[in-house]
Symmetry: C2
Subunit: 199 residues, 2 copies
């Protein structure tokens, strides 16, 4: 089940918009069959049901994010700079795949209940951030905080919610420019905060 032919895989993306729009519940297998041109029997030959369709689509998105972030994170810069790069990378992928993001948000519950996906979610979104915050303390580019776990979670939330919302709201025609802009706002928040400065 883990190696469906490339051709089918690419056709399956035709279902993303459908699922994004109506949710997996509101989408009949027959609809997916029609939208993708893959007959129902064939879908069932390769995939173990509806959930597997979602799982396939989302794990792909998550892999893309994890990949892009992984690249961004592995430069030689200090952690703070790498965190900025990671945010841009993550938002870039998200804004480029708005339908997948909408599907993810819409069926988040299901996603977190699919063990494979839950892991991939963590790996794509949360872990890199957690790691970077720790690195930043080590290399002095970020500040030590009393409760790193909670803070990492909040940073993760700040980035992800902003990204998902942006992706969900409007498919943009210049995703990577938007990603840069949005990431600037987010980084300003998480680095400098909102308090009025003495300086």
């Amino acid at each position: 089940m883990r190696k469906l032919p490339a051709k089918l895989a690419s056709q399956l993306y035709g279902a993303a918009e459908l699922i994004a729009e109506r949710g997996l519940d509101g989408t009949k297998i027959e609809d997916i069959a029609e939208a993708t041109g893959i007959p129902k029997a064939t879908i069932y030959y390769h995939l173990d049901g509806k959930n597997a369709v979602l799982e396939f689509l989302l794990s792909d998105l998550l892999d893309m994010i994890a990949g892009a972030v992984g690249v961004a994170v592995s430069s030689a810069e200090d952690a703070r700079t790498r965190l900025e790069a990671a945010v841009v990378a993550q938002l870039g992928v998200m804004l480029e795949h708005p339908f997948l993001c909408r599907a993810l948000v819409g069926d988040l519950g299901r996603a977190t209940r699919l063990p494979e996906l839950a892991l991939a979610l963590r790996a794509a979104f949360y872990e890199p951030i957690e790691q970077l915050l720790a690195d930043g303390v080590a290399d002095g580019s970020l500040r030590q905080v009393p409760n790193p776990g909670a803070v990492a979670l909040s940073v993760f939330g700040a980035i992800t919610v902003a990204g998902l919302t942006a992706a969900v709201e409007g498919p943009s025609d210049a995703p990577s420019a938007d990603a840069v802009r949005l990431s600037a706002s987010i980084c300003e928040l998480i680095f400098d905060g909102l308090a009025t400065r003495g300086s």
Copy 2:
């Protein structure tokens, strides 16, 4: 449909844990009937189906949050202080109702597709924050940022994700103490940021 008898309403809460655990899909109406003691026919007499059960439970949670936050926000302090109070209030309610939070996360997609709930979600979580950030700029207790909308969204994400995760992970035995602790971490992040200070 908006005024089910108090007795039934209270019984319905018995379904929250069930839904939190398995998701609405994984929960049969018959299960809900059994868990709450309300027979299926009666459920259908008052409510228009499964979604309405979820809608009832979640709109209640959202009302509680909106209420608590509303109180916190309406003090005479400066915006920054009120924002802190709002965070504590929001987290307090969330940690006190872990099952409802889990149900919310698990069926977020469905929730956002129910128009009433989508509005209540916005009103409970996002709008107060947006307002406070604006107030803060006005009264000088918070800094002006180039893109207030995006920042408000990130702040919202930071608080909500941290809160939901905490609620989902472990039902705590001292919710309000935990809320205070967690909110301190979050506020430190959103006010002071993570950059290393010159000072």
